[in-house]
Amino acid sequence: MRRAAAFACTRPLHRLEADKGQVQQVDLDPYPMDHLALDAIELVALHQAFQDGLTREEAMQLLASHIGRYAAERGSAEHLDVAQRILVELIAAHELLIPDVDDDGRLRQVVRTLRLLTEHQSPTGRIYLRAGTEAVNVLIDRLDVDASSSAHAAELQMQFLIRHGRMAEAQDVAHAMRLLSVHYMESTRRYLSAARRNLDEVDWQGDVERHLAEAHSHLRARIEAECAIDGELQAALDSGATTDRPAVMGALQLIKRTSSTHAELLEQLAGVFEVFRSEQDRQRFTNRVILARLADLRHDVLNGFMALTVQDASKLEPHPAQMILGAVVLPQVTVAGIVERTLASLDRPEPSDDPVEPIEYDEEEPDDSLRSELVGWLDPDVVDGRMLSEVLVEARQELDDDRLHRLAAIGMEAFGAEHLAVLGGAGEDADHASVPERFLIGMPSGDPLRVPGVPWIGGDDLRLVAATVANDDDRPAGSEER
C-alpha cells in the first residue's frame, strides 16, 4: 500500500508526458516531459536554502536553458513556454485516488491532494519555490535514512568515482549530499522556531542534542571530504590527466556551491545555543501563574480541533470561534436611519429608463474565496474614475462566464454604497464594521451597461469612484463626486 502511494506520487510526471500530444499550441515531441519535470524538481530542491529559494521566474529561466539542450533549434521563447508548462503542472494540486483500508478492514479508494512544488514566502517577501516532501521522495528516495552511514558510503563512492574520472556520477552523489545538508537545515529551522515559541515544547536533552551532534558530524565529514575532492580535482586539472575538462570544472563549481550551503548550516548551528540562552532568559524569568482549569492552547485546543472532521467541528457547541468573537450587537433599523436614507437618495441623479437587470446569485452560500478573488478586480485605488463596463471588458479576457457574472454582481453593489456609509454615520456603531476605510461608489452614468459578446449583462453603466471614510461622523469624502 505504501508502494502504491509512492507510485501515485509520480503520476503527475507521467501525465505530463502522456498528455503532451494534446497540446495544440506547441509541438512538445522533442521534449521528454517526465524527465524534464524530474529535473525541475531537482533544480528547485538544490537551490532551496534556509528560508529562501528560486522564484518561479528564476526556476523558469534555469529550466528553459536546460530544455534548450533538447531542441536548440526551437528558440528560447518556446523553451520558456515548455518550462512554464512543467512548473505550473508541478505547482498545481493533483487529486490522486489511493487505495486504503478502512477501520473494518474493507478496501476502498481515498482522495489525496499532492503538490510536488509549493510556493512559500521568504522573510523579505519573495515568493519562492520549495520541493514538497513527496517530490523529494520521488526524486532521491527517502531522506530520513541513517544519515551518518549513508553519508559515509556516499563519500567513499564519490572518491572512487573521481579517481576513475567518472565526473558525472560524482556530481550526482555530491548533489545528494547537498540535499542532505538542506534536510538538516530544515530540521534545525523547525527546532529554532519551536524554541522561540515555547522552550518546553522542545526536547533539548534528547532530540536537539542528537540532531546537533548528527549535523555537526555530517558537516565535519563533508568539509573534510570537500577539501580532499577539491584537491584531487585541482590535481587532475593541473596534470592534464583528464580528458573531460568541462566535467571537472563542473564538479569544481558544484563543490564550491556545496561549501556555501555547508557554511550556512554551520552558522545556523552555531546560533542554536545563543537562541536557547536568550529564550531561556526571556521565558523562564517571567512570572508563572498557571490556571490549571484552562486548556493548553497547543495540545488541547489546536491539536484537538484540527483532529476533528469538518462535520464534527461544525457541531461544537459553544463553537470556539463564537467564544472568541464574543457578544455581537445587531444593527438596529431605526426610523431616523430610514428617513436619512430616503433623503440621501433624492440627491442622486435619476437613473436612465433602462431598468437595471437584477443579477441573482446564491445568497445562502456565496463562495467567499471566489468573491475575495474577484474583488481584486475592483480595487478602489486601481479602478477609481473608470466605468464598470471597462473593468468587465478587461476581466472578460481572463474570467469564465460564471465568474464574470459574479464580478458584475459585485460591481453593482457599489451602486448605493454611500447609503451604507450614511447608516454608519447615523450612529449605528456596529455597522461601522462593514464599511471599509476605502470603498467604491458607483454612480449611474446614464449610459447602458454593455459588454461586447456578453448579452446577459445589462442595466445602467456605473462610474466607479473611490471614497474614503474620513472619520466617524463625516459622510465619505468623494460621495459628491460624479
Binding site: D102, Q121, D296, V310, A321, S369
Partner: protein, 262 residues
C-alpha cells in the same frame, strides 16, 4: 435595593461593553469600571443587568474593559432563562459573521476557525503568556502559517489510523488534512496574491479580529504585524475554558495510538 441611578450606571457599563469601546476612550467608562472592581454591590447589580439581557460578564478590568459573552454562546439554552429558550439577541448570526468576512461554507468556516485558534496560540504560546495580564502578544500572519503547517504535518506524521474520507463523503475530511491541502502562499496568473492561500486566510482572520478590536495592526511594520488587545486575551481564556477540550485532546491522541494492520 439599589436606586434607579445605580441601575442606570450598571446598564451604561454593559452598553459600553457592547459598544466595544476601550477603557481609555471615555472618562465615564473608566469610572464605572473602577466602581465595578471596587464595589461588590455594584458588581452584583451589573451582572444582574447583563443576565437580564442574556449576557454574561466574562471580565471587567481596566485593561480589557467590559468583556461580555452572549449567554447562548456559553451555556446550553435554558428554557427557564430570561428568553425562555430563545436565542440570545447577541449571538452572532450567520449574516453578522459574513459581515466581518467569516466564510459561510462549513469547510471554509472550520478552516477559518482553525486559523483563528492558531492566531490565538501564536499570540500566547505558553500558558503563562495567556494568563499574564500584562502580556501583549504579537501575531505575524506568515509566521502563524508556518507554525500551523508544522503542527498539522507533525500530527499527519503521527496519525497511524487511516483517516482519509471516502470521496463521496467530503464532510468527513479531517481539518489538519484540509489545511495541508491549502497552498501556503502563491500568485495568480497575473502576479496578484492568491486569495485562497493559507497566508491570505490568516490575514483575513487577523483583519476580522482587528474589526472587533481584538487585534490592532502595528504601525510601520512590514510585513504587517498585529498586536493583541487585553480584550483578545480575555476572550482566548474564555475559549480555553470550554469543557470539551480535554475530550478532544484525548480523541486526537487516540488517533495517533490505534494502529490498523494492513
Amino acid at each position: 435595593m439599589s436606586d434607579l441611578h445605580d441601575v442606570r450606571s450598571a446598564a451604561q457599563l454593559v452598553a459600553f461593553g457592547l459598544a466595544r469601546m476601550q477603557a481609555g476612550d471615555s472618562h465615564d467608562y473608566r469610572e464605572l469600571i473602577t466602581r465595578y472592581v471596587r464595589d461588590i454591590d455594584f458588581q452584583a447589580l451589573t451582572e444582574t443587568v447583563a443576565e437580564g439581557l442574556a449576557l454574561r460578564v466574562v471580565a471587567c478590568t481596566e485593561r480589557a474593559g467590559m468583556v461580555l459573552a452572549a449567554v447562548g454562546a456559553v451555556t446550553d439554552d435554558d428554557p427557564t432563562g430570561p428568553l425562555g429558550g430563545h436565542r440570545s439577541p447577541f449571538l452572532p448570526l450567520s449574516r453578522d459573521l459574513q459581515r466581518i468576512k467569516i466564510p459561510t461554507r462549513a469547510r471554509e468556516r472550520q478552516l477559518w476557525t482553525l486559523a483563528l485558534l492558531a492566531v490565538a496560540y501564536c499570540a500566547f504560546p505558553r500558558p503563562e503568556d495567556r494568563d499574564d495580564d500584562s502580556r501583549l502578544g504579537q501575531v505575524e500572519p506568515a509566521a502563524v502559517e508556518q507554525v500551523l503547517r508544522a503542527l498539522c504535518s507533525e500530527l499527519d506524521k503521527q496519525v497511524k489510523r487511516s483517516v482519509d474520507p471516502p470521496h463521496e463523503e467530503p464532510q468527513l475530511e479531517r481539518l489538519w488534512r484540509a489545511y495541508l491541502t491549502t497552498a501556503e502562499t502563491g500568485t495568480t496568473g497575473d502576479e496578484r496574491a492568491l486569495m485562497s492561500s493559507a497566508v491570505a486566510l490568516i490575514t483575513r482572520v487577523c483583519d476580522s479580529l482587528t474589526e472587533i478590536k481584538c487585534l490592532r495592526p502595528m504601525r510601520r511594520s512590514d510585513p504587517l504585524v498585529y498586536q493583541t488587545t487585553p480584550k483578545f486575551q480575555v476572550q482566548v481564556r474564555e475559549m480555553a475554558s470550554a469543557s470539551y477540550w480535554g475530550e478532544l485532546s484525548v480523541a486526537c491522541e487516540r488517533l495517533t495510538l490505534t494502529e490498523v494492520d494492513v
